[in-house]
Symmetry: C2
Subunit: 307 residues, 2 copies
């Protein structure tokens, strides 16, 4: 999609492994146009990033001046456009001193890439989520608690005094996709459909006996064969079991804490339901607006005078 | 591979999802020839089974008489040649009364397929392993204890008085393959190589805190990025973590029991090491000879007079 605007004041970019999304921003900080493509980091060689970006944003560039472009996500990884070295926690989610400048042939472009965050013990990394966290904190600078960012690689992030204190990553979304689409369970699990009661039961079971996860998965297949388990119920139970063991291992993060969930509607609601069953009362926020808020905070930090 | 024999007294067949293996047996019960192909159940339609079998065994068939063929494995599943209905435990691993006859056009063939076993609660199924179990019991009919059959779908099987009392399936091998080959961990894990100490440490950690499995996996990726984790160590740790949570959930099976492991050399040894660290002293047996012993027991049961 692309809506031709007048030239942009600056351009915000979220560059993930599989998708590239860009927004033309006006001088008032509003979105004047948006565009996206499948040119994710995963399919690009180092020389391919600038052309892939220009294919989306060329029409937004003024011919006679440099337009700032601020990028978050996997474009800053070692296999990306240029490596933006991880910053170590505890730290603020953004620091303009750490942004990496991407080499550009086109003189109209000035591209800066936001680095991810790293943690030494237990070893962990994030890249992209730090920008959503910055967007969240731009709207709630005094927040003291825990952010949960569910997805392919879910993150639990402890926030205090405007800094990321610690975090932990869970491969829950990727495990679900592999098991539902590529394991023997693909014969038992629908690609769509849901069963709230089955989700809740599997979640509670996994939370109370997470050590039995390895025994639970094949049961879905056997119940399909022997008892005609409904594929919607199988899907919800697989999700409940995997989110359940994530919540069990993440308990030190969420127990007794203020929790906000940042994510797409469906998965965010599933996590909110799950945490609600444990007595937590999480706030639920959409991720995309926070990505844009974080990129705006990054751009604003670049315009501040050096301190 | 194929070695032309004189005509076979009977033919033993192990027909899995991905492979087809056949042995020509002489009147003394010895193997006189062996052949195999990639015509597993997964790539065949119902009409494809007889031609796939004949492609391997045609040269072993006498022209003027019927040759019995005994088949175990997925050829008896609902998607197979003909469905051999599961028998419910507790029961002996084999009962010739339950064998399914496969429809054949070639008059030289008489094909019988061994059914798998099912368990109502918790729901579980096996297909193929019952034949290895029968082969094991043929050599040790008084065995009272637990059999562990590691593999794509590991089975733990309680045996008493010549019967399968109960069993449980774990998707450990399939999870390992999905995570090692198709998840983000594929960038961290070698396809070969091993690190005994890393395996042992990950195993002990998973056994003592199985509830933390969801937190452990992404750590492998992060340690690769931040600390240069050796890919052999990452592979061994992934294996140790997954086998560890299997052993944790299977503890009611192996704790205080006589255990025998039936499996291929590499994976069997890994399970033996793992159980040994927990104070168990399992016997270790190769699976292939037991498959053949089980098929021989099945063929012998067909020749017994009806009781």
């Amino acid at each position: 999609m692309s809506v031709p605007p007048s030239s942009a004041a600056w351009i915000a970019v979220d560059w993930g492994t599989t998708h590239l999304r860009a927004w033309a921003m006006d001088t008032a900080g509003a979105v004047s146009a948006a565009a996206s493509s499948d040119d994710g980091m995963g399919r690009l060689s180092r020389d391919g990033f600038e052309p892939a970006l220009l294919a989306l944003i060329d029409g937004w560039l003024a011919p006679d001046r440099v337009t700032p472009v601020v990028v978050c996500g996997m474009a800053g990884s070692r296999q990306g456009w240029v490596e933006a070295l991880y910053r170590g926690v505890p730290c603020t989610p953004l620091d303009s001193g750490g942004f990496a400048s991407a080499p550009c042939r086109d003189p109209r472009l000035q591209v800066r890439i936001i680095p991810g965050l790293k943690q030494a013990t237990p070893a962990d990394v994030m890249r992209g989520e730090e920008t959503q966290i910055a967007g969240f904190l731009a709207g709630d600078p005094e927040f003291d608690g825990v952010l949960c960012l569910p997805g392919t690689h879910s993150k639990w992030v402890r926030i205090s005094a405007g800094e990321v204190v610690s975090f932990q990553t869970f491969m829950t979304g990727e495990m679900f996709a592999l098991l539902a689409d590529h394991s023997v369970l693909r014969h038992s699990v629908t690609t769509e459909g849901w069963d709230d009661a089955a989700f809740a039961a599997a979640l509670d079971d996994a939370l109370s006996r997470p050590d039995r996860i390895a025994a639970r998965l094949f049961t879905l297949r056997a119940e399909t064969l022997l008892q005609g388990l409904a594929p919607e119920a199988a899907r919800a139970r697989l999700s409940g079991a995997l989110i359940g063991i994530e919540l069990a291992a993440a308990r030190p993060y969420w127990l007794g804490q203020a929790v906000a969930i940042i994510g797409a509607k469906g998965i965010g609601a599933a996590y909110a339901t799950a945490l609600g069953r444990q007595g937590a009362a999480p706030r639920l926020l959409e991720g995309d607006p926070l990505t844009l808020a974080g990129l705006s905070a990054a751009q604003a930090s670049l315009k501040e005078p050096a301190r």
